[in-house]
């Protein structure tokens, strides 16, 4: 277990470093950070000053080295927009994102599993058809659009929730539900599909033959097997919500998290702050991956940690 964890941790560090290198290459080599940051009327002199200030006049490999060494010490540079360490801004804006993502994720997984299990009880029945339709809608409707439609109906039309911003729990409801929708869809479809597989599996048939009650068979025997497939997808969903869904949903609802911050930073050409957001999200993504892998191994006795990968 210890050896495995060490191996996974070193892989995780490798992932974060490759993300940093990609961002570095894109911003320094393909793009022109100074041109993006400076106003159009800037002179050559302004340009040279900013380049020196950012250390962009040094050889590219020296820059990359400094960049990674600094990043390891959590020094990601000063935000050009707010003139203070970018990492501080990201860490300040992180809690709202965590609240939103956790709320959306938990809601999505719970609803998804319930819908998936219920619809698998009678494949092809009307409940099943309704559930599958709902699931397909969940994965097909664009989140930013559903978010705006919810504002039109629930905030403006019915006046139940505030249109955007943050504060009490009433501000969290709409964004969390919107973030949860595709998760509900995919989790429901996957849970349903693997539940149907499990119900036809030999060990479940044996349990039926032994006279185990139907409730117990569905909730214990079948769900345990199906849970492993669901867990894998759930890990992906959490990552997707953090690195994708949150950006869209936070922007629609002006939710003050890191996704909204990233968009504000992009609007203000603050590449340093955008990099800091990507860095922190990359660390969270690899952490989630490790947690999923370990949970997976604990649930499925067939997976041996030391031999995995």
């Amino acid at each position: 277990m210890g050896r495995y964890l060490l191996k996974r941790l070193s892989q995780a560090v490798l992932v974060v470093i490759s993300v940093m290198v990609v961002v570095f290459v894109v911003t320094r080599l393909i793009g022109d950070p100074v041109a993006v940051m400076l106003p159009l009327e800037a002179t050559e002199e302004n340009r040279a000053i900013l380049e020196a200030q950012l250390g962009l006049d040094r050889p590219i490999l020296v820059q990359l080295g400094h960049y990674i060494v600094d990043a390891v010490q959590l020094d990601l540079g000063d935000s050009l927009w707010q003139r203070r360490p970018a990492i501080d801004i990201v860490l300040e804006r992180l809690p709202p994102t965590i609240v939103l993502v956790v709320a959306g994720f938990v809601l999505g997984v719970l609803l998804g599993v319930v819908i998936g299990v219920v619809s698998s009880l009678r494949p092809g029945g009307w409940v099943d058809r309704a559930a599958v339709t709902l699931g397909l809608l969940g994965v097909s409707l664009p989140q930013f659009w559903i978010g705006l439609m919810f504002i039109v109906f629930f905030s403006v039309g019915l006046g139940w929730f505030p249109t955007s911003g943050s504060g009490g729990i009433e501000f969290l409801v709409l964004p969390a539900v919107v973030l949860a929708l595709p998760i509900v869809g995919r989790i429901a479809l996957v849970t349903r599909s693997s539940m149907i597989d499990e119900m036809n599996a030999q060990h479940v048939k044996d349990a039926v033959a032994r006279g185990v009650s139907r409730t117990r068979i569905v909730l214990v025997h079948a769900l345990k097997g199906a849970g492993i497939a669901t867990l894998t997808i759930a890990g992906w969903e959490l990552i997707g919500a953090l690195a994708g869904g949150a950006v869209v949903v936070e922007t629609v609802y002006a939710w003050p998290g890191i996704g909204f911050t990233a968009m504000q930073a992009i609007e203000r050409h603050d590449i340093i702050l955008v990099q800091a957001v990507v860095f922190v999200v990359a660390i969270m993504v690899v952490t989630i991956n490790i947690i999923v892998d370990i949970t997976y191994a604990m649930l499925d006795p067939r997976v041996k940690l030391d031999r995995a990968r």
């Binding site: 961002v23 894109v26 504002i151 869809g185 599909s193 149907i196 869209v248």
Partner: protein, 312 residues
Amino acid sequence: MSSARPTGNRDRSRRAAGWAIRILRDPAALFGILVLLLLVAAALFASTIAPLDPNKQDLGARLLPPFYAEGGSSEHVLGTDQLGRDVFSRIIHGTRISLTIPLVSVTLAGIFGTAVGLLSGYSGGRADTVIMRIVDTLFSFPGLLLALTILAVVGPSFWTLAIVLSLRIWMVFARLTRGLVLSAREAEYVEAAELVGASPTRIMMRHIAPNLTAPLLTLAVLESAHVILSEAALSFLGLGIQPPQTSWGLDVAIGRQYVFSAPWLIIFPGIAIAVAVLGINLLASWLRVAADPEESAKRFAAAADAPTGWSE
């Protein structure tokens, strides 16, 4: 799985008829096919179908409501935007972007990913390990956020968007192809071909490749739905398609400022995205069932349980 051997014309047309009947019998698949045909027709004949030029401004006819609302007219069935442009015509023209972006991205990603998967699966050993480790690493990248960063720095355009989106999905094709190659290599007929001394190229093209077609096509359809959603989300965030080109996501972004006074500006482009993605998802889920007899028992099986680690 399609068979490797070329079949006679009669056989082929009979098989095609068989597939057509199967589609007609499945309402979900039929809906999917119809949506796709409609989209293709709209994209091809946009200028003929659309009543007006999507970029023609008419400041005297700003923010007109759709036909069903008070003040609406049949001249602008779905109303007009803040510059007096016809919403319906813009949606029809938006089909072009919504179809060409996935076509380009999925083709690029499919070709590259399949090539990498073939190489990895067929060569095996060290090369396979290294390639798959790289693929794993890329799967752990923070998808949409990284795409946003790249687009912000490089500058959004049709091609940067198409390439960035294909960079996010080629790994899915690589993984699937590798898995299929590995299982095909186990097959007796491949071992037999190796024994009689067939060249690797021949084995690959003649014996392994035919097994890949159906699953890869299904994946391509499924990924197209993902790409449409991503394009719409990126365009909505202002980092995708740029004016004067039209895109459904871009139109929702424009309408956002008028969400309270002119909700039709976001309602209709959004419905267009939803219908397109739903249709393609339904088609993908049917294709999967149709191509795999084992799946037929689970008729409405999951359309989207092949996650790419991102959602919009």
